[in-house]
Subunit: 452 residues, 2 copies
């Protein structure tokens, strides 16, 4: 009997699932796979958008991993500019609107994968719909921002999340004056304040004006166009404004269909990516994931999870058996000359999750101190006081510092103690590391903090 898989959302999670299901069930007469994507392209690398806007990556097309035509060769029917407006989970149908012709149709499914991604967080302030206020989540967003940046001299980025910082960096790269307005007392609130201060410094070295603790009150609009960002403390003129506060799950369609959401606003799935509704699966930015350290259900919008979860869903839909084993909240970015990364729980998160914790920081170098190109590498670790269990880590520094977070993430994945981490046989040679790698040094210091 032929079955039919409908996928809503043709980006990382959706297309990974479709591809993996097809790999395991290669016969389209056995499993038909239909994907509806409301945007104009499938399977693109959204994380690369800031770098095309800034010109560091040369064109938006470079971000497209695979086109609908390429998917068609794999017997995956992907329809772009097709919006799914409703799901009937009892009848197992979706309602689809073709955005170009405005035609609406109903398609049935045996299995439905919801991979609707995320939407940009928008502060609840007047003026946000004016011309000149940009998001940066899709390739059309990127093209619009790119065009606007070509006409602009001054930009204000609202929010110091990852995209906000990357956009600030890249707009400076294009020569615009850039002000970053952030409500918190630090950029990148996933870091502890001491580590985030390095990010502020890096932004200022780039020439970004950083305004912390500024709550946006409104956007000043003149003749339909945004002219300034207004906070209690100041008035920041702008030819263009970019929202960089982060994203939230695009879970409205699922919610309307009666698919349960969790406290973090994402679709609730089990470790096989099944929702609680029969026949309905979900993956990517729109779902909640298990945080392996805090034990909580969290939303982390990141391509790496979307790919893994899509693959897990596709394996299970294809008749295999796979699980997504959770997240650590690992993240990395670059702010000018600074590499910044984090994983697990920072101090505030550890306290919030009920851990009595200690922390320690090692300021070392990325290579042997005497070796050309040695740059700062600052590693901070957080550990549970009673057990010494590693809870999280943060890294800032120059070239070669950031990816050290993966060592910490791997230790965290297996609930390693900092005592164990301090002994790991990490690689050493002068072009790559001091004889005590900064991670080992930080682990040793954290052991010292545990021992008082």
């Amino acid at each position: 009997m032929s079955e039919r898989l409908v996928v809503i959302g043709g980006d990382a999670a959706g297309m990974s699932a479709a591809s993996q299901a097809r790999r395991l069930r290669p016969d389209p007469a056995d499993l038909r796979i239909v994907v509806f994507e409301q945007g104009p392209v499938t399977s693109y690398a959204a994380c690369g958008l800031p770098y095309v806007v800034g010109g560091e990556v040369d064109e938006f097309d470079r971000l497209v991993v695979r086109t609908p035509e390429e998917f068609a060769e794999r017997d995956i029917e992907a329809f772009v500019r097709h919006e799914v407006t409703g799901v009937d989970t009892a009848a197992r149908t979706v309602t689809v609107t073709g955005l170009d012709r405005g035609d609406e149709r109903t398609e049935s499914y045996d299995h439905l994968l919801i991979a609707t991604g995320s939407v940009t967080l928008r502060p609840p302030v007047p003026g946000l719909d004016a011309d000149g206020v940009h998001e940066l989540r899709t390739i059309p967003d990127g093209r619009a921002l790119d065009a606007a940046a070509g006409r602009a001299r001054r930009a204000v980025v609202v929010g110091g999340g990852y995209i906000g910082l990357e956009v600030a960096e890249q707009l400076r790269r294009r020569g615009l004056g850039v002000t970053l307005v952030e409500g918190a007392d630090q950029p990148m609130t996933t870091l502890d304040p001491d580590m985030a201060s390095h990010v502020t410094d890096a932004l200022e070295r780039l020439g970004v004006e950083v305004r912390l603790g500024h709550q946006v009150e409104r956007i000043d609009v003149d003749d339909g166009a945004a002219r300034a960002v207004v906070t209690a403390e100041g008035w920041f003129p702008a030819d263009l404004i970019v929202l960089g506060m982060g994203v939230r799950p695009a879970a409205g369609l699922a919610e309307a269909a009666g698919v349960p959401l969790g406290d973090a606003g994402g679709i609730v799935v089990d470790e096989r990516q099944r929702t609680t509704v029969p026949g309905v699966w979900a993956a990517g930015d729109c779902v909640e994931s298990h945080h392996r350290v805090s034990g909580r259900s969290v939303v982390v919008a990141l391509g790496t999870h979307a790919n893994k979860q899509g693959r897990v869903a596709g394996t299970n839909l294809g008749g295999g058996d796979a699980t997504f084993d959770g997240v650590l909240g690992t993240a990395i970015t670059r702010v000018g000359d600074l590499e910044v990364a984090r994983t697990g729980l920072n101090e505030a998160e550890a306290a919030d999750a009920g851990f009595d914790h200690v922390s320690a920081t090692a300021a070392a170098t990325s290579r042997a101190g005497y070796f050309p190109g040695a740059e700062d590498a600052v590693v901070k670790l957080v550990a549970e006081r009673s057990s010494g269990r590693l809870l999280g880590g943060q890294v800032v520094g120059g070239d070669g510092a950031g990816k050290r977070i993966d060592t910490i993430a791997t230790a965290l994945w297996t609930s390693m103690s900092v005592r164990d981490l301090a002994g790991v046989d990490l690689s050493y040679a002068p072009p790559f590391s001091p004889v005590w790698d900064p991670v080992l040094l930080a682990a040793g210091r954290t052991v010292g903090a545990l021992d008082g």
Copy 2:
């Protein structure tokens, strides 16, 4: 009662132990610490020597971490150019010769730490003692090689171990013609042949003539000076020759004193760095270590272990309790534009250790494929067939590839399976990684190999 710690060898292991013991027992009236070092300096970074010879690091003095005067300020009496020629473990004395004045004296100890390091492997061929045949293990070796390189046009490096490769690279950097003569069919025999072939290519891109499978038969000597390296297959003229086959433990003094050695030729110690002789401890290149994957006792001469073992010995000598928890054989180096790293067991080693294994290789990129500066990153993993347990990994590639070995080493340290490794929440952003980090990709492929 005042006690006396005598340390033989004033480099990484010896000085780490001395420093740590002093940290825990700060009063010199409680613990006197005396170090004898036969060379002219204490505590130097031997791994940096090739880079000074090549001019990448500007002077040898940069490699000296701490001088005897600086140790004196910490109440550590370090005597350079003092050779310990005998140990009487019953009387708890050492016999010391001052190399400058030729005076011999006897010093008593309560605790003895043997940290005599390693000696260069020398092939058993005629001509090896001629002028122009160099080792590169100490700063005097480095100065001699540096001076000789200034007068030379053609060099032959005998042996493609880490030092051999680094010297070949650095002598090319100085403009010398360089031939590498290696007895095995590949350079860097700690890699599998398929991965080592990338090293051969990198050497050839540097302009090094690579001669594999060449057993050295003799050194041609003319008027006391080496003129050529002779193998069955060829005659390789040289103004200077460097031995780059590796090192072996300098354990002769310990052996003569009745301190037991192991099958690998190093001093046998327990996890607290105690030998089987009362009052005698040992650390660094001269000892054998527990290999956590093979379970065997191995010799790995590397500054990172020397530092850790010295610290462990010093902690225990200082009244604390510390253990050295073994090695994985992690190593990293750079050969021209290639970063090369390995950890755990390669395929041959896995077979030799009795593991039925599978392996898989992923050829990916160090950054997102579309991002400027993305370079090759090839990761190979070896896993136990029955359990999926990770046994080892190898990495070759461009900038940013090599240090990924630390992720694999950390997974190996906790006996992680490749199935688990494939799911780890590693960091992702376009300047740092493809959305599937090469390590995850290789782990996924290895799972595929396990599943047939």
